[in-house]
Amino acid sequence: MISTIAKNTLAAALIAGAALGATACGETVRMSTPSGFAEMHKQDHYAYRATTASGVVVAVRNEKNEPEGDLEFWSEAVDTSVTSRGYTRILEKQVESPKHRKGWRGVYEFGDGAAALRYAVTVYVTRDRVLVVEEAGPKAVVVKLDDALANAAKTVEID
């Protein structure tokens, strides 16, 4: 019962667990750590990263908007880069954060059978920064967390 309730309220729980991400160039990246995830500290390449015990990982990159592009430019750049490495995109959609920041989300799969991976990328673009939320894990596990991960990705903000 508890488990069922937990599943139904996973999205709300994710948002509720706010966390401070790593900073780059003085900015602070914030994201709500999903329930069941543990935040990883001292990340060199990520502003934020958290993982489940079963190996589902969510991470945030805080990159320079250089070359300076808009959401369309960076979403296309990300999609091109990911698919060029053999990932198959199974979903893409426009997303919007609670603070009405427009974003783009693409969901990909890689490999077959038990080794298949699910990989999702959500992109937000500010004037100076590009925030990239990556979610990855075994496909069989990630599919159960799709909604929770998608909602968590919407909570990314930069101050």
């Binding site: 390449h45 991470a59 070359p67 880069s81 060029s84 490495r85 990989y119």
Partner: protein, 281 residues
């Protein structure tokens, strides 16, 4: 009549014999004319080469007596009779002059390059360049290599027009040699007459005839040289046409995959599941 005869002539006259009769002017006029070489039909192969040649001779016996070279085979035997002069050897070795005109269309070469190749073909076969203009090149090829040269020129491009003329100059050649022999014989007799001239007037008359005969000899010798040249070297005239190829539209290259722009953004290459999942990095 006012000028004395040359010393040599006078000397010869003094030393000569008076037994042979002096040829009159009419006999000398009958000396063969160079113009006869150009008479129509003179070079036709269908004619018997030399059957009527002796009749034209003012003194055929003299030609034989002085060991004149036979026209066709170059042997030392004098043509004493028509039978001898139409021997099988004469008939089986006709003197043929080849001349070819070609229109050659080339695609890969320009006119100069094609002309250079034609000239090379001539030189390699012992021939030479006879003339050249911007679009035309004339070469001379040893007759025995005429066919080989034609084949080689064919290979340079596409022959769009070809004309090959073969002229049998056996008769003309033979006639010229016989006439030359006769003229030389006449000259010799005139020299003998001159040596026996009894007075200056007679000597001057003979001298004038000698001069006329000498001129005829020079002309016939020139004609013979020209005939030999035509027989020895065939002429090939090639007009070169450069065929400009129509530029073909360049087909667009169809890449197997759409081209990708490689953005100079390092982190894009790090977007992959395994890297995110590697918590040690």
């Amino acid at each position: 009549m006012s000028a004395p005869p040359p010393a040599s002539v006078m000397t010869g006259g003094e030393a000569g014999s008076a037994q042979e009769p002096m040829a009159d002017e009419a006999d000398l006029v009958q000396a063969p004319s160079v113009a006869a070489l150009d008479a129509p039909g003179a070079a036709s192969r269908s004619e018997e080469p030399t059957a009527n040649a002796p009749a034209r001779s003012a003194a055929p016996g003299h030609a034989a007596k002085h060991g004149l070279t036979h026209a066709s085979n170059g042997s030392a035997s004098p043509p004493n009779s028509p039978e001898e002069r139409t021997s099988p050897e004469d008939r089986v070795s006709p003197k043929l002059a080849y001349q070819a005109s070609l229109d050659l269309s080339v695609r890969e070469l320009d006119a100069d390059q094609a002309a250079e190749q034609i000239i090379d073909i001539a030189y390699k076969r012992g021939g030479f360049l006879a003339g050249r203009s911007s679009e035309r090149v004339d070469v001379r090829i040893p007759s025995e290599r005429f066919r080989a040269a034609m084949h080689a020129i064919d290979a340079i491009g596409q022959v769009t027009n070809r004309r090959v003329d073969t002229q049998d100059v056996t008769e003309a050649f033979h006639d010229a040699e016989v006439r030359l022999a006769n003229l030389r014989a006449t000259r010799k007799r005139l020299e003998e007459f001159l040596a026996r001239a009894k007075n200056i007037e007679e000597a001057l008359r003979v001298e004038r005839e000698l001069e006329r005969v000498a001129q005829s000899i020079d002309l016939i010798e020139g004609k013979l040289r020209a005939l030999k040249d035509r027989v020895t070297y065939a002429r090939i005239s090639v007009r070169v046409h450069v065929q400009r190829s129509t530029p073909q539209p360049i087909a667009p290259i169809k890449p197997s995959k759409p081209p990708r722009v490689s953005l100079p953004v390092a982190w894009l290459s790090e977007l992959r599941a395994d890297r995110v999942m590697d918590l040690k990095r």
